[in-house]
């Protein structure tokens, strides 16, 4: 069944609102001529008078609209395409029914074949893959040398000059399809320049560098093993290898995840916290929704990463105020907080009902202990992130000598603190929110908290940074 051409589709495909405005303007000016559609409305085509006469079409027969325009603006959709869709929405009667031009049908045919081929198991170009794997393998040897040089020379000798050299060397890793490893090297290099102004002393800085070095060493070791096996035996379906692959820099496609069976059906996701930050290492803006699955309390990460150089050409991710229902959500390989993604227009938002808050409180973990166990399991793996986000029930929040502590049903205490180099400090906000909710006494019930677990640098004590507090049906976003 073809997609419906409506405002929602226009908004979903548009990169910027301004392009929608410009398209609307074209429609109003009467720029569209010779407007046609097929009988089932799945293919629209016309001409648009711009600086020259452009020919354009929108094909909504498939899962995603195929948009074409002869104007020089790429990638689509340009204002001409969006304008045509809007023109159709407002004046569908003015689009005459006609047999589609042969070239458009040919393109549709090719697109269908492409889609079919994409859904088939890919025929692997063995030689090309082998070549790529070998390049990666060689680059890991380079990485190994780099790590050992750092260890031999001592991290204390990494000054600005050395850090710059590391940054340069990381480019070789990128060239060899090891983007993830390159980022890890750059992260270590960037720590050389962190100073007291950012709230970490030399000792803490060195400990952070050591953690990064350990991660790099694990990338080397596990990466070498995985790639050696790949060269010998071919692709594996092993989940832990998938993690290594992603760390080396693989970009998963939704279709690949579906092929692996890594999907969940009919998920209902409620966003509790949203974070946006610019990552200078990746040179990307990261937009991250922490979403809770209402049926089981799993905390997923819905992440959008946009190149800094192309912020105005890429669509900004919105924060969800409503519950989002997704018929089929693809889940990335990973640890406690797996990344979740879905196809265009699949997500259906609906207003949050009172019952949703009740469900949320029900699925929150009543005790800190199981969350701690999962966290420890994660951080035992040197390739895993050293943080994890959990939804916990709050029996109480209290002041102790060391700061604020969360108390669970069994009386266990989790110290709430901001990690070193926290992008945003939220513990002060937690104290105020708790003071307002508790009014100087125990916290009311029900109360749940979304908390990021992190490991102390020196004492290896686990602490929590609050991201959101939910008291009854009030969501208080503490971080950003």
């Amino acid at each position: 069944m073809p997609l419906e051409v409506n405002e929602a589709l226009v908004k979903a495909v548009a990169i910027k609102e301004k392009t929608i405005d410009d398209g609307r303007s074209l429609s109003k000016k009467g720029a569209y001529k010779n407007t046609f559609k097929t009988a089932d409305g799945s293919l629209l085509w016309c001409e648009c008078q711009g600086s020259t006469l452009y020919k354009l079409s929108v094909d909504v027969a498939g899962d995603k609209p195929l948009m074409r325009c002869t104007c020089p603006v790429k990638p689509p959709p340009c204002k001409h395409i969006l304008g045509m869709m809007l023109h159709y929405i407002a004046n569908s009667g003015s689009f005459k029914q006609a047999e589609p031009p042969a070239d458009l049908m040919e393109k549709r045919g090719k697109a269908e074949v492409r889609a079919e081929n994409a859904s088939k198991p890919k025929k692997v170009d063995v030689k090309a893959l082998e070549k790529k794997t070998k390049e990666q393998r060689d680059a890991l040897d380079l990485l190994e040398k780099l790590v050992l040089d750092l260890a031999s020379g001592g991290l204390g000798t990494v000054d600005d000059k050395k850090a710059k050299r590391l940054h340069e060397q990381s480019k070789q890793l990128t060239d060899a399809y090891l983007k993830g490893a390159a980022f890890a090297v750059r992260r270590l290099a960037s720590l050389a320049n962190v100073d007291a102004a950012e709230g970490v002393n030399d000792d803490e800085r060195h400990r952070l560098m050591i953690r990064q070095l350990v991660r790099l060493w694990a990338i080397v070791r596990k990466g070498q093993k995985m790639l050696d096996e790949k060269l010998e035996e071919g692709e594996t379906q092993n989940d832990s290898d998938a993690v290594v692959e992603e760390l080396l820099g693989k970009d998963w496609k939704i279709s690949e995840l579906k092929e692996k069976g890594s999907v969940r059906a009919n998920v209902e996701l409620l966003e509790l916290a949203f974070e946006r930050y610019d990552d200078p290492i990746r040179e990307e803006r990261i937009e991250l929704s922490h979403v809770v699955e209402l049926s089981d309390g799993a905390v997923y990460a819905d992440i959008n990463m946009r190149p800094q150089a192309a912020l105005d050409k890429t669509r900004e991710k919105e924060s969800f105020e409503d519950v989002v229902t997704v018929p089929e959500a693809a889940i990335y390989p990973g640890f406690v907080n797996r990344r979740v993604r879905w196809e265009l227009l699949q997500a259906k938002p609906r207003p949050i009902a009172k019952g949703d808050w009740e469900r949320l409180h029900k699925v929150a973990l009543g005790e800190i202990a199981p969350a701690l166990a999962k966290f420890k399991e994660q951080i035992k793996n040197p390739l895993a992130p050293d943080e994890a986000v959990f939804l916990l029930k709050v029996k109480d929040l209290v002041k102790v000598q060391a700061g604020i502590a969360l108390i669970d049903e069994k009386g266990a205490r989790l110290l709430m603190q901001d990690p070193p180099l926290a992008r945003y400090k939220s513990t002060g906000n937690l104290e105020l929110a708790a003071g307002a909710a508790g009014k100087g006494g125990p916290m009311p019930s029900p109360c749940s908290i979304l908390v990021r677990f992190w490991l102390g640098l020196q004492d290896y004590g686990v602490r929590g940074q609050a991201l959101a507090l939910v008291v009854g049906d009030q969501r208080i976003r503490l971080g950003m």
């Binding site: 050591i210 420890k376 040197p382 102790v400 971080g479």
Partner: protein, 571 residues
């Protein structure tokens, strides 16, 4: 014991990685750790196989050289990190627990789209940051828990700090007072002055200690901020009178004196009166002094001012030595100070000064109940002195409804009504037409609507202010007239319809938007639609904005209107 040994091993490995892994072979501490691990491994055997593994790995690290040593140290460090992670527990949160202190509620109303805009405006540098902050204040979204810390820090910003201190931080109330206090330095500069402004707005008399310290120990900038804070938030609070007087007695800085004069408003002692009277004669303080004297509760203030007036314009030799303009200006300030007070003496003195001292003299005559004096002032309406017009109108209005209407309606017949002075005269009359205006005015004003002239826009505004709903239909008719009214008239009609608050005007207003680029019309539509405060406007606004062409800034009013309507009536 094993846990501590592993911890120690981890620390020593960290030390080696910072200093250089090649030092492992000669490291005494590493050797001790290895031996301890071996001993523990022997003791615990199969119960803790990892100890033996770590001991062997430590041995390897110590006996390797060069790159091999680095390899072994890296591997060992990885293993130790894994073991420590498995052993990790909750950080200590022991000790006595007490409830989190009560705090006022600060929500998180700001959605993600705007919170980062406001956060960046508060935390970055450069121009163009005013708008998101201003929007945040207007919509209330800036009072967001996540923005609190950034708002406090922004007090120090030289570009937005003043606005933040006056309009933003006080909105957070007592939740921020302790932090701002902690940052406040009474001997500091402009930023600290702004902190004092914010704290006084929040704490009122609770900030007395800071104000005292600022006045005693602060520089001129700080003292000025302290006095302005008293003037803005603590006017007439007795505790501050001696402080302000003491500061002013020693003060040389013009800015501080001005602020001190403002701060003396509402105090009625002899010393205050003396200080204000002498400040009246200082150029930089005249305006503030006149304002404060106008509100003085001192029993003798009128007598003192009249005395001073006599000295200034009368036979005092010193006064005559001054230049004539200075004398006149000085007298006008005295009259301004007298005007808020009532008394026949004031009017009697002022009526003789109407022609020489203009508006301020006329303001003084208004304190009279004497018809002759009021008539003298009202007569000046048809003179050339713009400053006289408003007091003349008020004087006429005090002569009774019929007399007022008879005198004031003539402004629309004056031969110079389309010129500058005439337009100012008309504006002065219309300024005072409000909901209590004589309904005879409507007939006069509708005539202007039918036969437009350069003062018709003013007449339309007056129709709106009179507030009589019978004006809605004629206004709509005028809006829909063919040919179309000119842009200024259209804007005026739309504004007036907004003031009349009749929802039947919504559609005619939107229908009147022919060219969405007309800036004046856009501003009028925005103002009127928001004033009409009706959900019926939302679908029309959505449809309008959906069709807009061009850059966002061109249509700021329409977009802002839609934003406000969505905020109020949208889902």
């Amino acid at each position: 014991m094993p846990k501590e040994t592993i911890r120690k091993l981890g620390e020593d490995l960290s030390r080696l990685l910072v200093a250089g892994a090649h030092l492992a072979s000669a490291d005494g501490e590493l050797k001790k750790n290895k031996e301890k691990l071996e001993s523990l491994a022997k003791q615990l055997g199969d119960k803790a196989p990892v100890l033996g593994q770590l001991a062997k790995a430590a041995e390897k690290a110590m006996s390797a050289a060069g790159a091999e040593a680095a390899k072994e140290v890296c591997s060992l460090t990885t293993n130790v990190a894994q073991v420590r992670a498995a052993q990790a527990g909750l950080a200590s949160a022991d000790g006595a627990a007490s409830p989190v202190p009560e705090a006022p509620l600060i929500g998180t109303p700001c959605n993600a789209r705007y919170v980062y805009d406001i956060y960046e405006a508060l935390t970055t540098h450069g121009s163009g940051r005013d708008e998101p902050i201003s929007n945040g204040v207007q919509t209330g979204q800036i009072v967001d828990l996540r923005l609190r810390a950034a708002a406090i820090a922004a007090i120090a910003d030289t570009y937005i700090g003043q606005r933040v201190a006056k309009e933003v931080v006080p909105l957070y109330g007592t939740t921020v007072a302790a932090i701002v206090r902690g940052q406040f330095n009474p001997k500091g500069g402009a930023a600290d002055g702004r902190r004092l402004t914010a704290l006084t707005a929040i704490e009122k008399t609770g900030a007395k200690d800071l104000i005292v310290t600022a006045l005693k120990d602060g520089n001129a900038e700080m003292r000025e901020s302290a006095l302005d804070a008293i003037a803005d938030h603590l006017i007439g609070v007795a505790d501050f009178e001696p402080l302000v007087l003491e500061t002013m007695s020693k003060e040389r800085s013009g800015g501080v004196r001005r602020a001190g004069v403002r701060a003396l408003e509402g105090f009625g002692s002899d010393q205050v009166l003396d200080a204000l009277i002498s400040s009246l004669q200082i150029d930089s303080c005249s305006r503030a002094a006149a304002s404060s004297l106008g509100k003085s509760p001192h029993a003798k203030v009128v007598d003192r001012l009249l005395e001073l007036l006599d000295e200034t314009i009368g036979g005092d030799k010193k006064a005559k030595k001054k230049k004539e303009d200075d004398t006149r200006e000085q007298a006008r300030w005295i009259l301004r100070a007298l005007a808020p007070h009532k008394g026949a003496k004031i009017a009697a003195k002022a009526v003789d000064l109407l022609d020489t001292h203009g508006g301020p003299a006329a303001e003084c005559v208004l304190t009279s109940g004497d018809g002759r004096q009021l008539g003298a002032a009202a007569d000046r309406l048809f003179g050339k002195d713009n400053e006289m017009f408003q007091p003349a109108v008020r004087a006429a209005m005090k002569l009774g409804a019929d007399e007022a209407f008879k005198r004031l309606s003539k402004v629309l017949e004056a031969p110079d009504r389309t010129h500058d002075a005439g337009k100012a005269r008309v504006a002065a009359v219309f300024h005072f037409l409000g909901t209590d205006a004589d309904k005879r005015w409507l007939k006069v004003l509708f005539k202007e609507l039918e036969e437009p002239s350069p003062v018709t826009t003013q007449a339309i505004a007056a129709i709106g202010k009179i507030g009589d709903k019978s004006a809605v239909k004629p206004l709509i008719k005028a809006l829909q007239a063919k040919p179309m009214p000119t842009t200024p008239l259209k804007s005026a009609i739309i504004q007036a319809l907004g003031v009349l608050k009749d929802p039947s005007a919504i559609d005619p207003i939107f229908d009147a938007i022919v060219d969405s680029k007309q800036y004046d019309v856009a501003a009028a539509v925005h103002s009127a639609v928001i004033a009409l405060d009706s959900p019926a406007a939302l679908p029309r606004a959505r449809a309008l904005v959906a069709k807009l062409e061009g850059n966002a800034w061109q249509f700021w009013y329409y977009r802002r209107m839609l934003e406000q309507l969505e905020h109020k009536f949208g889902k």
